[in-house]
């Protein structure tokens, strides 16, 4: 598997940049994924609301929440999610939250 190298950290990811080992996720890893994969220089409190919700949901159910749940939990409109994460809920938000790549046509 390839690695993301950033400053002193070396993070193993899959070929699409999703974490190879979701248990290795930390807030610093999220910042690096956001920067390298999503081009986000910083994660604002709004980003964290979404990221933390996805993580909690994933820990509990073992899968990614649908975007409806992300909007409900954060109070954001659908378009706001796309503004925050340019690659969208699956390839953007879920990736920063350290989930493995969702299955299917995404």
């Amino acid at each position: 598997m390839p690695f993301i190298e950033h400053d002193d950290s070396k993070i193993e990811v899959n070929e699409e940049g999703f974490l190879a080992h979701p248990e290795e996720w930390t807030e610093d890893v999220a910042r690096i994924l956001a920067k390298v994969e999503e081009g986000l220089d910083e994660l604002t409190p709004e980003h964290w609301v979404v990221v933390n919700y996805i993580r909690d949901y994933y820990r509990e159910k073992g899968l990614a929440p649908m975007v409806r749940k992300m909007c409900q939990a954060s109070g954001f409109a659908l378009m706001r999610i796309y503004d925050l994460f340019p690659s969208g809920p699956a390839k953007g938000a879920c990736k920063v939250a350290g989930l493995p790549k969702p299955d299917g046509c995404v």
């Binding site: 899959n14 070929e15 969702p102 299955d103 299917g104 046509c105």
Partner: protein
């Protein structure tokens, strides 16, 4: 970031065993227990089983494609893998087809039995050989059928690829992504394991969004309503990650005064049976849609913008499900074209001023024969529509076809050969590329990002929705 680069041969050496299959066996999930979903067995006589299956499943059209090739090389020039790696003979369609052709010759064709060295006949001897075959037919071909269209002998290489994929799927020798999606379709009836509650909740949410947008409380997104003219079926990613397209469709149906519904079961028009080569999965998923239409006495099945879903449900599915389907099946783009032609909706093209080019999805144009229909719509809803070259049936794949988007292990090669698509997109100078396939949306977005092209991907529903004028 470091990515794995393919070597002198583009064939990627992805591993044989996967974690998902272990989990499916451990949990003894229903589709595995019932033998519908196959997992890989170490120590089983897999090579022998492969040959048995090959002999049993061979058909006349396969035999033609296996024997008619004269190795002229026309297919090489039509394949984006070879065009992007012109020094790599393993990228030619004929090389990929020869990997199954040599087995056919060894076991079924008399030439291979008499003079195997002369006709290069040989058979897989062990699981590693089968895994290598997997990496050819799943990892180095997007099953786009451009070589098929350009073969003077009528050899359907993509048919051979799908056939070989089907034999390997039967042995559980498949990429993890294909296994996972097949599992979810078998287990839940949809490829993203969306629950019924989640499905209904998202539809209600989108209904409320459209009500707010049109300031019209009578907007509905009906579910399981009988005797409608249109049964609308969608791609599960529209529920799970991108419901904007459902809102667009609902808005347009409402303005057009359509009598429509979605089914509560049988709403997933996508079909991984097409990609895995498993006709039984194909029959199960497409059959769910046909049964929903029959149960609700729908006038026609309308398929949202999805390439492989269109091909599966509109063309291949009847065969897989052995179904004598009477209600017609059409793409939503055809429905939109009819609304425009009949004056049921009015549009203002000036709301789409950014130049738009159109990317024909392989499964829709080349394998589904819809070429003019999307163009007729686009010319009415955009100010500046321009063709890319080549286009229509000769268009190049988005690079994510054949299920490749769900197989991360083959991504580095996919993006390397996407150079052809990138050049084609860039040459149009358009700010937007429109496609009527969700898979192409992601395939193109990957190409655009990787090759740093200043272009946005949109779908026909986006553009029509934006141009839609309020009813008189």
């Amino acid at each position: 970031m470091r990515r794995r680069k393919p070597g002198p041969s583009g064939i990627v050496a992805a591993p044989l065993e996967t974690k998902s299959q272990d989990n499916a066996r451990r949990d003894n999930i229903a589709s595995v227990a019932q033998g519908r979903l196959k997992t890989y067995e170490t120590g089983a006589p897999n090579a022998r089983r492969f040959l048995d299956l090959l002999s049993r499943r061979i058909t006349r059209s396969l035999a033609v494609s296996l024997t008619a090739c004269v190795h002229c090389g026309m297919c090489a020039e039509s394949c984006h893998y070879f065009l992007a790696r012109p020094d790599d003979p393993t990228m030619t369609p004929v090389y990929k087809a020869d990997q199954i052709r040599r087995v056919f010759k060894r076991h079924l064709d008399w030439t291979g039995r008499v003079v195997p060295w002369w006709v290069k006949a040989s058979a897989p001897e062990n699981d590693e050989d089968l895994n290598r075959l997997k990496n050819v037919v799943f990892g180095a071909c997007s099953a786009c059928r451009r070589c098929t269209l350009n073969c003077p002998m009528g050899v359907d290489t993509a048919l051979l690829v799908r056939f070989t994929r089907g034999l390997l799927t039967e042995l559980g020798i498949v990429p993890e992504g294909v296994f996972n999606v097949s599992r979810d379709q078998w287990e839940t009836g949809n490829q993203m394991a969306v629950s019924e509650a989640d499905y209904l909740e998202t539809l209600e949410w989108m209904r409320d969004e459209v009500r707010a947008e049109l300031a019209d409380p009578t907007v509905e997104i009906p579910v399981d309503r009988p005797d409608c003219d249109v049964l609308y079926t969608i791609n599960p990613r529209e529920i799970k990650f991108d419901p904007r397209s459902i809102a667009h469709a609902a808005k347009i149906f409402h303005v057009a005064g359509e009598k429509w519904t979605l089914p509560k079961w049988g709403w997933d028009q996508t079909n991984f049976g097409l990609f895995s080569g498993d006709d039984r999965l194909g029959a199960f998923v497409a059959g769910n849609v046909y049964e929903a239409a029959a149960r609700l006495r729908a006038g026609r099945i309308v398929i949202s913008e999805c390439g492989h879903g269109y091909r599966s449900t509109r063309w291949e599915g009847y065969d897989w499900a052995s179904r004598d389907q009477t209600a017609p099946t059409e793409s939503v783009v055809v429905t939109l074209g009819r609304y425009l032609a009949e004056g049921r909706i009015r549009v203002d093209a000036s709301r789409n001023p950014v130049p738009v080019t159109f990317h024909d999805s392989c499964n829709i144009a080349r394998s589904g024969d819809l070429v003019e229909e999307p163009r007729r719509v686009l010319r009415q809803v955009c100010l500046d529509f321009r063709e890319m070259t080549p286009n229509g049936r000769e268009n190049f794949c988005c690079t994510g076809g054949g299920g490749l988007l769900s197989m991360a292990e083959y991504r580095p090669l996919r993006l390397e050969v996407a150079r052809i698509k990138a050049d084609q997109l860039r040459a149009t100078g358009a700010g937007q590329v429109c496609t009527m396939c969700h898979n192409c949306v992601d395939g193109l977005a990957d190409v655009i990002r990787h090759y740093k092209i200043d272009m946005k991907v949109v779908q026909v529903l986006d553009l029509v929705s934006r141009a839609l004028m309020a009813p008189r």
